[in-house]
């Protein structure tokens, strides 16, 4: 029996869930971003205190010193929910794979000057350990953070950072003609080379930071905000004189990702800083603390890659970052 359903009068009795209508101040349709995110995390009547942190609730806003009236104010301008996140990344990663195939087909890695090739192995390949540290930090922010508005994009970022570590890993294998030798050598540099130790120490310091919003500043704003422009802009630009077009192609994913990631980072910080003078002061103090540590940590690497031009490149990255932070309402 087929029935023309159009002849039935089927009117929705409500447009969205009650908790969302209350936020809207009216019952109107909500987006999938809103329905999948708003108020999804439990807030009340937790049954047991965590064994691993008995002085806090399971979800507890006091895991950071930042205070928000409404944690769901920290929106993601990309409006990612799981589906749109994965679809966006699958597209970016397919484009990156296309570049990998193109570079391999044309033998473009063979165009690298021998000297610069060694530099690339020195600066680029150990960066996968920095990305791995960033993955742990993003996971930590998801774990300890408060409110799905910020914790959901945090686990997406964890996936991104792992994906980036693996893009670098793939570059390392291609540079070694398909084997793991270059990556193993890179790990040795990460562990022992002088020009990496400042950064490794910096990353290890972030791994023990318990205030998740401070970690957000340290990782997403400062470390990513200095290392990405330094490596994927300044180092990359120098490489162009040494036949490094292939490296630009293979790291395009990171450049594209960084500008997208920064949109989210900036939106979250801007709202938190605008919330109160106390927040702004805390965020500013964390910013300057991690900026100074990071600035010093990257100088030996920049000098190793760019020689005398290293300090100028770091200064430029710092100036860009300071300007960015100022726009977010932080004092620098």
């Amino acid at each position: 029996m087929t029935i023309d359903l159009k002849t039935l009068n089927i009117e929705p009795r409500r447009q969205t869930f009650g908790h969302i209508a209350r936020r809207f101040g009216e019952d109107r349709p909500a987006s999938r971003y809103e329905e999948g995110m708003l108020d999804v995390q439990a807030t009340k009547h937790f049954h047991y205190k965590p064994f691993w942190e008995p002085d806090k609730e399971l979800y507890d806003a006091s895991r950071t010193e930042i205070v928000m009236q409404d944690w769901y104010a920290l929106r993601d301008p990309r409006q990612y929910y799981y589906a749109t996140y994965n679809i966006a990344r699958a597209g970016m990663r397919a484009a990156a794979q296309h570049n990998f195939d193109f570079v391999e087909k044309r033998g473009m890695l063979g165009n690298l000057d021998a000297g610069w090739r060694a530099k690339v192995e020195d600066y680029l390949l150990p960066l996968r350990h920095v990305a791995w540290g960033a993955n742990m930090n993003a996971t930590q922010i998801c774990d300890r953070g408060y409110g799905t508005a910020v914790t959901a994009p945090a686990i997406f970022t964890a996936g991104d950072q792992l994906g980036i570590a693996q893009v670098i890993g793939q570059i390392g294998m291609d540079m070694a003609g398909g084997g793991g030798e270059a990556l193993e050598a890179a790990k040795e540099k990460w562990m022992t080379a002088d020009y990496w130790q400042g950064i490794r120490k910096l990353v290890e310091n972030t791994l023990v930071e318990q205030d998740w919003f401070q970690l957000f500043i340290a990782q997403n704003l400062v470390i990513d905000g200095i290392i990405y422009p330094l490596v994927y802009d300044s180092f990359d630009a120098s490489g162009q004189a040494h036949g490094a077009a292939a490296i630009s192609m293979l790291t395009e994913f990171m450049s594209e990702w960084f500008s997208e990631h920064s949109r989210w980072t900036d939106a979250v910080i801007k709202v938190a800083a605008a919330e109160s003078g106390t927040n702004a002061a805390k965020l500013s103090a964390w910013f300057t603390k991690w900026r100074d540590q990071t600035g010093e940590a990257v100088r030996p690497l920049a000098a190793h890659v760019l020689g005398d031009g290293g300090d100028a490149a770091v200064d430029q990255a710092l100036a860009t970052l300071n300007a960015r932070a100022a726009k977010l309402g932080l004092s620098t």
């Binding site: 039935l8 792992l162 570590a165």
Partner: protein
């Protein structure tokens, strides 16, 4: 030129190689939860990656699945797919799911993020992170699927608010709070092994095949789409338990205790599924007893035979759960029939053909113990005196279900157990729940028991109306008997309209 690597080596380089032994900060500060549960790991490198999924492959597979799923959800909404369900009563299963299960998917997401940060081995850490992403997927796709039903039907509109407050929802909530507040290894055994591996088929198969039998194409599509995630989760769960048992003999007694505890915890939560299968589905898939036989007795039996080589025994009280399968759904449905005035879904008495089905599926118990009860309530209903129980029930301190279960082997006597801790008395529905309390009294004495909280005035006020208001319940629509519900009236109107149109 170096030789190209095999898949396993390649995966190893892209993941295992990432980790390093920290030296500027001590490892036990980087992984502060690695040892406090007493689990001993000699060599994380012995971890076998159960699936070798790099992020590029993850994004590709998952995005393809999401495209397909959301295409179905869009067309379901456009075509008023809610009209194709078997009967409006079916939606009560959906209400139970969005208020009771979807918030657990979210909890799993955050819990695996915790494990995905805290487990010191890089292999399990990555697997846990991917599961964290998957579980967020499950929470969000379920919300997006049920969003359409919420536009037309009651009892779904306040799912997070209710999950944090409503009396019976504290059963699933406290279950997951328990796992989440445990250390990362217990969490992996509780959720990764006991829940995802041993018991998952008793949760998802009933809900998803229930959806299929009852014309809910949206939920079916979600269920199918989640299947490949679930198989990864199951592989992770079994790998974790084997790894812990292989790493050190001292782990066995700890793991055994967790298996015993989480079997019983999970089994008690699944009582909600039992009543859903036997009473709420207009078109029945199979009985709870049959599901228990297939998915626990047979599949679980084979599993524990396999794990016996590590010295692990089947969970304590599993024989009792098997014996209880004759009673569980009937006792639970009775509880909810009694207290529908305080629930965000409807109940009703089984019709004659449903009673016949129950007699056939439960030949040892239904006619003897439960049919007379339902017939008495049916008579009361006919007399215009539908039975509602106005006395608040006592809840089990551990599982938080009203104390309405009977003694093992004696289905006419209610089972009560009690323990004393720091001068206070605590009450339990079963030996299993009492054991769990006695092993961790400090933890379980903290339970936020809804009935206690009502008595203490923490739930909006002293009378039922105040409490329901505090639940954000739409009184008269979300609660009470199915037969007097607005959505039944709406459904009947739609059906009448369809018949009229068909006749023309």
């Amino acid at each position: 030129m170096a030789k190209k690597l095999g898949l396993k080596q390649r995966y190893g380089l892209l993941t295992r190689g990432l980790d390093w032994e920290t030296s500027y900060q001590p490892m036990d500060k980087v992984f502060p939860e690695a040892t406090f549960e007493g689990i001993k790991i000699k060599d994380w490198d012995k971890w076998q990656d159960p699936f070798r999924l790099t992020m590029d492959a993850y994004w590709k597979f998952q995005s393809e699945k999401e495209r397909k799923l959301y295409a179905v959800l869009d067309s379901f909404a456009q075509n008023n797919g809610q009209l194709s369900i078997s009967d409006v009563r079916y939606l009560n299963a959906v209400k139970l799911f969005i208020t009771g299960v979807s918030p657990l998917e979210y909890q799993a997401h955050r819990g695996f993020a915790h494990a995905g940060r805290q487990l010191p081995g890089v292999g399990p850490r990555i697997a846990a992170q991917m599961q964290s992403l998957d579980e967020l997927r499950h929470a969000q796709t379920q919300i997006h699927t049920i969003s359409h039903y919420n536009k037309f039907f009651d009892g779904m509109h306040e799912f997070p608010h209710m999950h944090d407050r409503v009396w019976y929802l504290s059963v699933p909530k406290s279950f997951f709070d328990d796992a989440r507040t445990a250390g990362p290894f217990e969490f992996m055994i509780a959720i990764g092994f006991a829940f995802e591996y041993v018991l998952t088929n008793l949760l998802f198969v009933p809900f998803m095949s229930g959806a299929a039998y009852n014309g809910d194409m949206a939920t079916v599509t979600f269920g199918f789409s989640a299947q490949s995630d679930e198989s990864r989760h199951m592989t992770l769960g079994i790998e974790v338990i084997k790894f812990l048992l292989e790493q050190h003999p001292d782990n066995l007694p700890i793991v055994q205790k967790w298996v015993d505890k989480w079997f019983w915890r999970g089994y008690k939560v699944l009582g909600l599924v039992a009543m859903m299968m036997d009473y709420m589905l207009p078109k029945k898939v199979m009985s709870w007893k049959e599901a228990w036989e297939i998915y626990f007795e047979q599949a679980g039996g084979a599993l524990f035979e396999d794990l016996a080589r590590y010295g692990l025994k089947p969970p304590k009280y599993h024989e009792q759960a098997t014996a209880d399968a004759e009673h569980l759904s009937h006792q639970n449905w009775s509880i909810f029939y009694n207290y529908t005035q305080a629930a965000a879904f409807h109940t009703w008495l089984p019709e004659d053909d449903e009673m016949a089905w129950l007699s056939e599926k439960y030949p040892n118990t239904f006619d003897k113990y439960y049919r007379p009860r339902f017939e008495q309530w049916r008579q009361m209903e006919k007399d215009g005196n539908r039975f509602y129980n106005n006395a608040l029930p006592q809840l089990c301190q551990t599982c938080q279900i009203p104390m309405a279960y009977t003694e093992p082997g004696d289905p006419t006597t209610i089972c009560f157990r009690e323990s004393e801790y720091k001068g206070d008395k605590y009450h339990f529905c079963s030996d299993g729940c009492k054991d769990i309390f006695d092993n961790e009294p400090e933890k379980f004495s903290q339970s936020w028991l809804p009935v206690h909280q009502i008595f203490q005035g923490n739930c909006g006020g002293a009378d039922l109306g105040d409490v329901l208001k505090w639940y954000n319940m739409n009184v008269g629509a979300d609660n009470m008997d199915q037969n007097v519900s607005p959505e039944q009236a709406l459904w009947d109107k739609w059906q009448a309209e369809r018949s009229r149109v068909a006749a023309e």
